[in-house]
């Protein structure tokens, strides 16, 4: 096709698009929505960063307070004036009070585009020795009803709303010519009708996608800085989203090529949107839940509690007796808390926790294995639903996917073990009971926060190529049908 014809088509497209009032109103609305989504995403990111900064400053304050209190006790001949359970020279007390540190997942700046799992998974844990974080964590104080409604972010706008705009943009490219009676006129042209239609769709795609990125990129730079521009994550986001838009344009071309009425075209496209965007993910959910049911965390609790009851039938009873019945601990006195009692509780808690951790590890592995299998299932079948694939990729590329939160959770579990190894020997030191020193306070393990934005596990290249292939195939079929339509 000649450049001059393309130029004429471009002018023609610009003119008819600018004269379509429904389209213009819808575009204005969606632009407003897109900008709102970007603003909401970047506000959430900023809020997370502020919370992390507050956590770090709180940790520093806690450490300072701990050291000051230990210094005061040491200067006062090891006499602690307050309640014995608050005395920081007992390792057990420090492990419960000022000792627990935070494990933090630093947000990736592009998280501003997609909330993903970050509203239901915690981005920080306070790591306690005697509490498994998966059994105790609660993410930020979130309103369950608002979580249920869902988030309003860039990903939602792209996945749900933009296909609607594309449908309005392209459902009647060919049918409107027929309905307005200009089709006969077009047939007298010496240009290929099929090529002209393809060209019109491509022009619309370029205009649409170009305008989209011209709008999104500067707004994003203004809200989160420009560093993301050079990351592979951003480049794949641009490629993935552009491909997603291309899919809908190619589908519109194919539907148009069947020479149906505009109304039927629109209905078919809406049905495909509904089927691929809502029904397939739901069917997949039903299937995966049936094949790989995810056990409840209640099972872990039951396993833990069973183990602890068994332990207290014999070994635990003996330990309790030896610790609590000792004249030194005076536990049975139950009016004055003695140093031995603090030590005794520490030993019991430490031993019980070891038992509980071992018992829960089996149930925990079962839970995560099932989730991993479901994730694997999603990866295998996501090609059936462009919306699902887009959601999975955007989550992975913005660092808010379940895998990344799971990595963080594993790191937090490792950190907890490290903390246990640090505190347990000190808690079990019977010689003095009060074994925690200033030097120990400085040696309390700290978590090294990091960003979790690796996406090497999603086979993004393969998905991209497959979808590109699907788009080329849809366009080719559409083109062939348009060649037929000329007759």
């Amino acid at each position: 096709m000649k450049v001059s014809v393309i130029r004429i088509l471009l002018k023609h497209e610009l003119r008819i698009l600018s004269r379509n009032k429904v389209l213009l109103s819808l575009s204005t609305l969606i632009i407003f929505i897109l900008l709102s989504a970007l603003w909401i995403g970047s506000s959430m990111l900023r809020k997370q960063e502020q919370t992390i900064s507050k956590i770090q400053s709180s940790e520093r304050e806690m450490l300072d307070s701990l050291k000051t209190r230990i210094r005061r006790v040491e200067a006062n001949h090891m006499v602690y004036p307050g309640f014995i359970w608050d005395d920081p020279t007992f390792a057990y007390n420090t492990a419960r009070n000022e000792g627990p540190n935070y494990a933090i997942k630093r947000p990736f700046p592009l998280q501003a585009l997609n909330v993903g799992q970050s509203d239901v998974q915690p981005f920080y844990y306070k790591v306690y020795l005697n509490k498994k974080q998966y059994l105790t964590f609660e993410s930020e104080i979130e309103n369950s009803f608002l979580q249920f409604i869902g988030n309003f972010d860039f990903a939602f706008v792209v996945i749900y709303l933009f296909p609607l705009l594309i449908i309005v943009f392209s459902y009647n490219v060919l049918s409107s010519e027929k309905e307005q009676g200009t089709w006969v006129l077009l047939k007298t042209s010496n240009q290929s009708l099929a090529q002209m239609m393809i060209c019109r769709i491509v022009i619309r795609y370029i205009l649409f996608t170009g305008f989209f990125w011209l709008l999104v990129t500067p707004v994003l730079i203004a809200s989160i800085g420009s560093n993301f521009l050079f990351s592979a994550n951003w480049q794949w986001i641009v490629a993935g989203v552009s491909l997603y838009f291309a899919f809908w344009f190619a589908l519109a071309l194919l539907v148009n090529s069947f020479s149906l009425t505009s109304n039927v075209n629109a209905m078919v496209l809406i049905f495909i949107w509904l089927f691929t965007g809502i029904i397939i993910p739901n069917l997949l959910q039903i299937g995966l839940n049936k094949i790989y049911p995810i056990p409840s965390r209640i099972d872990m609790l039951t396993a833990e509690r069973d183990a602890i009851n068994k332990y207290f039938e014999k070994d635990g009873q003996e330990l309790t007796k030896s610790v609590f019945s000792s004249p030194r601990t005076m536990i049975r006195q139950a009016s004055i808390v003695t140093p031995g009692m603090v030590y005794g509780y520490g030993v019991i808690v430490y031993k019980s926790q070891e038992i509980k951790d071992q018992a829960a590890a089996v149930a925990e592995e079962k839970l995560y294995a099932q989730i991993r299998k479901q994730q694997e299932g999603i990866r295998r079948f996501q090609l059936l639903s462009p919306a699902l694939m887009m959601q999975e990729e955007l989550a992975a590329l913005t660092g808010s996917h379940w895998y990344q939160f799971n990595q963080f959770s594993n790191d937090a579990a490792t950190f907890r073990k490290k903390s246990q190894q640090f505190y347990y020997p000190k808690m079990a030191s019977e010689s003095t009971y009060r074994s925690f020193t200033l030097k120990d306070a400085d040696a309390i393990p700290r978590f090294q926060p990091r960003v979790y934005a690796d996406f090497s596990w999603i086979n993004i290249r393969q998905n991209f190529c497959i979808y590109l292939g699907i788009i080329v195939f849809l366009s080719f079929i559409g083109y062939r049908r348009l060649l037929e339509a000329k007759k």
């Binding site: 956590i55 839940n289 207290f312 004055i336």
Partner: protein, 466 residues
């Protein structure tokens, strides 16, 4: 005349291939929704029932222990799966269902199932409630969008208007034909759900709890479906163009189902921001440790309590007390700490209620949200029912605290005989009267939308001219 138009339209609807396909599709989805909802209910209710029994058995068979240590072993209060969760599970998976009954620690409901769900969950959970709120309105719009506009496009409008039928009769005939199709689906939902309820619940439970609530649910669903049909038919008449009508109705659906609720949710988060967990923890710790107002530091209060207790028993040394002092302090601080925690949780709950109210107020712009809220409240899968469960579980936790501390004042070892005196927890969701009163806001909005749809209908058929 209305009957004639009604018959003609109904025949035409059933002779349109796309309508028959859509009807087939939605029936398949309905069956899937019933299956999925039923599986959900069976799995969850069995798990919760068995776990409630198991956790209590573990507690009462823990053997000889220091009473306080044994109380810390505690047990869980599990929120029973709602009676009607097989058709609507609302926010059940977002709230968690396990409340730890442990001394001097205000329980928090844990284990939100959504935390272990994959990204698929963000696409919704297919059950009758989801189908009624999301898919059914779209199905209605797809059926109704060209019920009038086709007359203009086929050039039959003049013929229709020149007949003996009045504009109102034409409108009513077409509306009733669409309504018949839609209500047939509602009837299908009603009958199939009833079969499931009868299968899962014993007769007394079915008659006393499920049927009254389900009747209200069906009334609400019928009203909602009729309203959607009226809007669809009216828009079809007003636009006189199938494409425009489809875009307007589809846009209305998309905005109402997805866009507006989410936007309102974000807005409410910004207008009524929640405090962070860190702030919550620091604030409650400080209030408990340093006291509120003139209460003084915990150490000061403990000393004061000791003096009072010694005075009460007329002794001069703690060792001479006829009861153990530690359980007395535990009980004392249980009360003062509980006041701090109650205040803090009330602030969180109040803020969430403000957020929810703001979101619900956006239902004046979209009836979908009002129906969703109504559906959750009637099926007891809403936030208010969850808060009711939390409040009752917390009362039970404190009751256990008192029982154990009273015992601990005179005994340092508790055996299974004592543990068995601690009562099991049982929860039943409030009845239909309570649910209806809590759903008053959404019912009011739904009635407002019904009036709007009637107004739109009258306005539309008055415009029925060539």
């Amino acid at each position: 005349m209305i009957r004639l138009i009604f018959k003609k339209e109904l025949k035409e609807l059933f002779r349109t291939a796309k309508v028959v396909w859509m009807l087939g599709g939605i029936i398949v989805l309905l069956l899937l929704a019933l299956y999925n909802g039923n599986s959900y209910y069976e799995n969850h209710s069995t798990l919760i029932r068995e776990s409630q029994e198991m956790t209590y058995q573990q507690f009462i068979s823990q053997g000889d222990k220091n009473p306080h240590l044994g109380a810390h072993f505690g047990f869980y209060a599990y929120k029973p799966t709602a009676d009607m969760a097989m058709i609507e599970n609302g926010i059940e998976d977002y709230t968690g269902n396990s409340f730890y009954l442990e001394p001097h620690k205000r329980g928090v409901v844990k284990f939100k199932e959504i935390s272990d769900a994959t990204g698929l969950r963000s696409f919704g959970f297919l059950n009758i409630g989801y189908l009624a709120q999301f898919i059914l309105p779209l199905f209605i719009f797809l059926i109704c969008h060209n019920i009038f506009s086709k007359e203009w496009e086929n050039g039959t409008i003049k013929m229709l208007l020149s007949s003996k039928a009045s504009a109102r009769q034409i409108f009513m005939g077409k509306l009733l034909s669409c309504l018949t199709l839609v209500m047939a689906l509602v009837l299908f939902i009603a009958l199939s759900s009833l079969i499931l309820f009868a299968k899962e619940h014993h007769t007394a439970g079915l008659l006393n709890r499920v049927l009254p609530a389900f009747t209200c649910y069906l009334l609400g669903l019928s009203l909602f479906a009729a309203m959607m049909t009226t809007i669809g038919v009216s828009v079809s008449l007003l636009t006189r163009n199938a494409n425009l009508s489809l875009i307007v109705l589809y846009g209305f659906w998309l905005i109402g189902v997805f866009l507006l609720p989410r936007l309102a949710g974000e807005l409410s988060k910004n207008i009524h921001p929640a405090m962070t967990s860190l702030e919550f923890e620091n604030q409650t710790f400080n209030e408990k440790q340093y006291g509120v107002g003139n209460e003084g530091h915990k150490d000061v209060r403990r000393e004061k309590l000791l003096q009072q207790t010694m005075q009460q028993y007329q002794v001069k040394r703690i060792e001479d007390l006829p009861v153990f002092f530690i359980p007395i302090t535990i009980e004392f601080f249980e009360e003062s700490d509980a006041a701090v925690m109650d205040r803090a949780y009330k602030a969180v709950d109040d803020n969430e209620a403000r957020q929810d109210r703001l979101v619900l107020s956006s239902a004046w712009l979209t009836p979908f949200l009002a129906f969703r809220d109504f559906s959750m409240r009637i099926t007891a899968t809403d936030m208010d029912t969850h808060n009711d469960f939390t409040a009752k579980a917390e009362i039970h936790r404190r009751k256990i605290g008192v029982i154990v501390d009273d015992y601990y004042q005179k005994n340092t070892v508790a055996g299974n005989a004592f543990w068995k005196t601690v009562p099991q927890f049982a929860y039943t969701a409030p009845g239909i009267g309570w649910r209806l009163s809590h759903a008053a806001g959404s019912i009011f909005i739904l009635l407002g939308w019904t009036l709007f749809s009637i107004g739109l209908m009258v306005y539309a058929y008055r415009k029925l001219t060539v």
